[in-house]
Symmetry: C2
Subunit: 304 residues, 2 copies
């Protein structure tokens, strides 16, 4: 069985994770959270989003987050539209993420545009940003299942990724938004993506809604994937997709990979320090497997 020797974890907790938390986390805590994640060895991260503060209040401090941020990591910001891109550029961002759903219905419910309309808006922005040599990440949601339309076609995912690839996108983050993909589907789709887009970074984004995320990661590794999105503490999910709670927790991914002698470069004990900060601020227990076990080891049994 041939698996990659090294894996890159793209930490999405500060953006995808916190975005789904109703309680506002104070900006200095977020900044410290991000710093500690970098100390733990995270080299790529979704930091924040330039979205309407009315729509996502948690992200209203995007400018402050970017201003406070330093270091050599790849700091990605999410932008839903031209206004977001402008704000990101003004803030000096060098890595920008766009998102689109494979499912039309999901896309319409999410941002009131069909998938085609979304792409017509996004692709010209990407071309402009690539001229300025920015790093562009495309987040492909509902790549396996849509909560409204059911099973998605692989050909539609490949077609969408092809459009992004042609526009010069650097990273394709392909997501099982509602956590319904099984390992055979993960292996199949990522094998085809790997074969079709050998020049583009390919990232798998799994949700653990039904407990299949680590199985899917193992399947994607077999398809040659060596980049995985995950969220410290398993923070977040997707507020627009019913039953989609639960990004896979970074610590659970890192633990499994390191046990398989696949290097992630991430220090779990430092990662736990980052998580603890957010746990205290959210005033609710973080229930990932590794973090719960840690608490047990420290003699503070956590209610499951």
């Amino acid at each position: 069985m041939h698996l990659p020797k090294n894996v890159t974890i793209i930490e999405v907790g500060p953006r995808d994770g916190l975005q789904n938390e109703a309680k506002f986390i104070e900006t200095p805590v977020k900044i410290q959270f991000i710093e500690k994640l970098k100390e733990a060895g995270i080299k790529e991260m979704e930091l924040t989003a330039f979205v309407s503060p009315k729509w996502v209040p948690q992200m209203k401090d995007a400018d402050d987050i970017i201003a406070s941020n330093s270091g050599t990591s790849r700091n990605i910001v999410l932008t839903p539209n031209e206004k977001g891109v402008e704000r990101a550029l003004e803030a000096g961002c060098k890595s920008i993420a766009f998102f689109v759903g494979v499912s039309d219905t999901f896309n319409l419910k999410n941002i009131n545009k069909s998938t085609k309309e979304s792409m017509e808006a996004i692709l010209p922005m990407i071309k402009k940003l690539k001229d300025q040599d920015l790093f562009i990440r495309a987040c492909i949601s509902t790549a396996f299942y849509c909560p409204y339309e059911g099973k998605m076609k692989e050909t539609d995912v490949l077609d969408l990724c092809g459009q992004f690839s042609k526009a010069g996108v650097d990273d394709l983050s392909v997501a099982d938004t509602i956590g319904l993909a099984n390992p055979l589907e993960a292996y199949s789709l990522f094998s085809k993506l790997k074969a079709s887009f050998s020049e583009t970074l390919l990232t798998a984004h799994f949700h653990d809604t039904r407990g299949m995320a680590l199985a899917n990661i193992f399947a994607a590794l077999q398809a040659g994937i060596d980049r995985f999105d995950s969220s410290a503490g398993g923070l977040g999910g997707c507020p627009f997709a019913p039953g989609s709670s639960g990004n896979i927790a970074t610590e659970d991914v890192v633990f499994m990979l390191e046990q398989m002698n696949i290097s992630t470069g991430i220090d779990l004990s430092k990662l736990f320090e980052a998580i603890e900060l957010v746990e205290i601020s959210l005033s609710k227990p973080i229930l990932s497997k590794q973090y719960s076990l840690l608490s047990k080891r420290l003699g503070q049994p956590r209610q499951a």
Copy 2:
């Protein structure tokens, strides 16, 4: 990727699961639980254990459980020693399970015998029972890791399984008792077991302590394994192994397998009825992924 088309689930909830619950479940509830599990399509089950009621009070009604039990399923009872075997035979049991740890230290802490001493006691009993044409299952615990000794040697597991196989054992249930095995280890060990014991039923028993159980099942499927132990509602674990909480839940295994078009013959909605009975009796929420999602679907959000 070649996976088995059909999988047999060996339900261990009534024995391995309930054994670890402090609150005594009334015998009629247990009987109804078992009946409902059979209605759901379970064909092989660990029903109860003929152990000292002082040691495991939950199993004090073993005789009543067996007496009330009917049907054509394979009804397995666990016996730790000669006295247990006698009681099982008197009760008319046709399928008997023995257990032994690969780790000496674990075995000593568990039943005050080294692995070798355990085998010296068990093997003659097995030979006698095989003469009477009983079905014999050997439960091999700590086959990957021991909480005291760490990583186990594959050769030791193969040797132990070889002794059982030579004695005529029908089923080898090989367990990751503390839920620390990773998918590469699962694939490696089960591939070797499959190659060495092609004439014996081989069952994988995974715990979900670190969230890796479904990934390990996916790996074991690739090694050709088509029998998996699991526990309805994820009941149980092992009281003698620190940090070993959490048998993988039958409903989570069934869901993943059926999503992969691997048939289990199990009806999830009937399985949920069985679980609900125990949940009510235990007065604590069952937190498996599928059962939690079901509750959400029914509009009764469950505290996680």
